[in-house]
């Protein structure tokens, strides 16, 4: 077992005098095994991204624990090197390939940062080799992208760059938060293949966060369905699609546009 989430809850409070609270994540527990691809599916506002941020250690939970290799990521990390180490092993690809980049800085920087994280000088021979290797991995020609600014690249190219970064770091756990929702439908397959290749070659576990249960069906070993902060169903893709137990899961499945069947809009 690589990751274990136990009774995780996040409550957001807003307001000054009359405090309103919102349970974004409500008592969620699950585990991720090594080399496993797990999808977390739910509509906007169901708490998927909040959950991802907590696992990435970007947002502290209100209660509950996240255990990575048996260690509580919020309590058991004593030094900054523990934390750095955690981010070396748990990495993410986010939804918007436009806002993941600083528009004023050449895209090389995202790769340099990755190299620095694993302690390699980007200017060294090894650094150059790793950059070249990772870019070729994701189907980018180094001379096409290096030295460019973000606006000179397409959305697909930018998302590939973010994946190339992961090929440098070689994390144990990759969190892909809506990584393909802003990518063209015809390009999605390519990006997904690149992510799955990380599992096949490096044995990376992947948490795939998406609102599209159709996508989840094609790529995961297991699907978790979230609704209003709660985990309401967990099963294999075939069982979820063919035999959904929760009413909301049925609604989700019905809302996925199918190619060979037209909706009735009742």
């Amino acid at each position: 077992m690589l990751l274990k989430v136990e009774n995780l809850t996040k409550i957001f409070e807003s307001g000054f005098i009359r405090i309103r609270s919102l349970k974004a994540v409500d008592n969620v527990s699950f585990t991720i095994n090594e080399g496993e691809v797990v999808s977390i599916v739910g509509e906007s506002g169901s708490g998927k991204s909040t959950l991802a941020k907590m696992i990435l250690r970007l947002l502290p939970p209100t209660s509950g624990r996240i255990l990575y290799k048996g260690k509580d990521i919020w309590k058991d990390f004593k030094s900054s090197s523990d934390l750095k180490n955690y981010w070396r092993e748990v990495h993410a690809v986010f939804q918007d390939p436009y806002s993941s980049f600083n528009p004023y800085v050449q895209v090389n920087r995202v790769l340099y940062q990755a190299l620095k994280l694993i302690g390699i000088n980007p200017k060294s021979e090894e650094g150059k080799r790793l950059i070249e290797e990772s870019l070729t991995r994701v189907g980018l020609n180094p001379s096409d992208v290096l030295g460019k600014y973000p606006h000179q690249l397409s959305g697909g190219q930018r998302q590939r760059l973010m994946i190339a970064r992961n090929w440098i770091i070689k994390p144990k756990l990759l969190i892909a938060d809506e990584a393909v929702s802003m990518i063209d439908a015809s390009m999605r397959g390519t990006i997904i293949k690149l992510l799955l290749e990380m599992r096949d070659v490096l044995g990376t576990s992947i948490i795939f966060i998406t609102h599209d249960i159709g996508l989840a069906y094609h790529i995961s070993d297991r699907i978790l369905v979230m609704y209003r902060g709660k985990l309401i169903e967990e099963d294999t893709p075939d069982d979820i699609i063919n035999n959904p137990k929760h009413e909301y899961t049925m609604k989700l499945i019905k809302s996925v546009p199918l190619l060979y069947k037209k909706w009735t809009f009742d």
Binding site: S186, G189, I241, L259, F265
Partner: protein, 332 residues
């Protein structure tokens, strides 16, 4: 069935001038399309294929660097054809936009001014596009009536855009765009930023305004063929600035002719028994650079069926049957 819109050999290029050179990006290149009343046309293709540029051409909303090079854009108004490409921007704004053709641009819902209430946005738009001195009460009554007909709560008028969910915002946009009952509504990726459940709601709203007769026809632009097919009656496939296949939705889905359409359909990831789980098909290669498109058939560098002819000669639209057309040398 009466014609509504006709594009004849339209070319619209982005002209980008540098100090030393002039670059032309051929985003819409020799496109012809006839649209009849009561059709719902889905235009599909990958990013950068010219879909959005085509929507601007349909409205003749041409602003630099986009340049209308040649061709005709004809709209039928009260049974008479008008050449939109000959009208001034002022006349288009007064007589055509909003009244005859309306557009929901991509990311329109992000354009709602956050500090104005929905009512102010509506009266502002109405006054700037239609009658400058109309009575606000009258406009708001009309909007309230339309909101009711589309199942939107009337209180939305008194809310700020940030208080609305994504689906609600998009439905407000649809209501605003069709307030004057235009004949044709052009919707550019209206559901792309929404999750699947909201997406279905927005599609239903689009169909509602169509079935209630507020609009006569819809052009729905999207990269997602599975979404488009839910409401479209006809599918137009674009590749690299050209239309490569055109026909009834059911027919193209079950019998795609052009190799690109075949790839496009097989690359869709939907939970269906017909699409095998885990089998991910992708279009090989990359979209071409439209400032220097490939010779002959523009798809030939990525096509696995290519013949020598495809490299040199451009394929013309071939008739497969009464309604189905394809531009590919495989079928001639």
């Amino acid at each position: 069935m009466s014609h509504l819109l006709k594009l004849e050999n339209v070319r619209a290029y982005y002209v980008i001038k540098n100090r030393s050179s002039i670059k032309e990006v051929k985003a819409v290149d020799d496109v012809s399309l006839t649209l009849d009343e009561s059709e719902i046309v889905g235009i599909v293709g990958e990013s950068g294929c010219g879909k959005s540029t085509l929507t601007n051409v349909i409205l003749m909303n041409i602003k630099p660097p986009l340049k209308f090079i040649s061709g005709k854009v004809i709209l039928w108004k009260d049974g008479k054809p008008i050449e939109l490409n000959k009208l001034s921007r002022d006349r288009l704004k007064k007589e055509i936009w909003g009244r005859e053709i309306s557009i929901i641009p991509q990311f329109a819902m992000n354009a709602l001014v956050p500090t104005y209430k929905v009512r102010r946005i509506i009266t502002d738009i109405y006054k700037s596009h239609y009658e400058t001195n109309s009575d606000e009460e009258y406009i708001l009554n009309m909007a309230a009536k339309r909101f009711k007909e589309l199942g939107l709560p009337e209180k939305v008028l008194n809310m700020y855009p940030f208080e609305l969910s994504g689906g609600m915002k998009q439905r407000v946009i649809i209501a605003i765009a069709t307030l004057m009952n235009p004949k044709l509504l052009v919707a550019d990726e209206p559901t792309s930023a929404l999750d699947v459940i909201t997406q279905k709601m927005v599609l239903k709203t689009l169909l509602d305004i169509y079935h209630k007769g507020f609009i006569k026809s819809i052009i729905f632009v999207s990269h997602d063929i599975a979404t488009v097919r839910q409401i479209a009656t006809r599918l137009v496939v674009m590749y690299a600035g050209k239309i490569i296949e055109d026909g009834p939705v059911e027919e193209i889905i079950s019998n795609p002719m052009h190799p690109y359409t075949k790839y496009l359909i097989r690359s869709v990831l939907t939970p269906e028994r017909t699409t095998k789980r885990g089998e991910i098909v992708t279009v090989p290669g990359f979209p071409p650079d439209l400032s220097n498109p490939p010779s002959g058939c523009r798809f030939h560098p990525r096509c696995s069926y290519k013949r020598s002819r495809c490299l040199s000669d451009e394929p013309h639209m071939l008739k497969v049957n009464d309604k189905h057309y394809v531009a590919c040398w495989l079928y001639s």
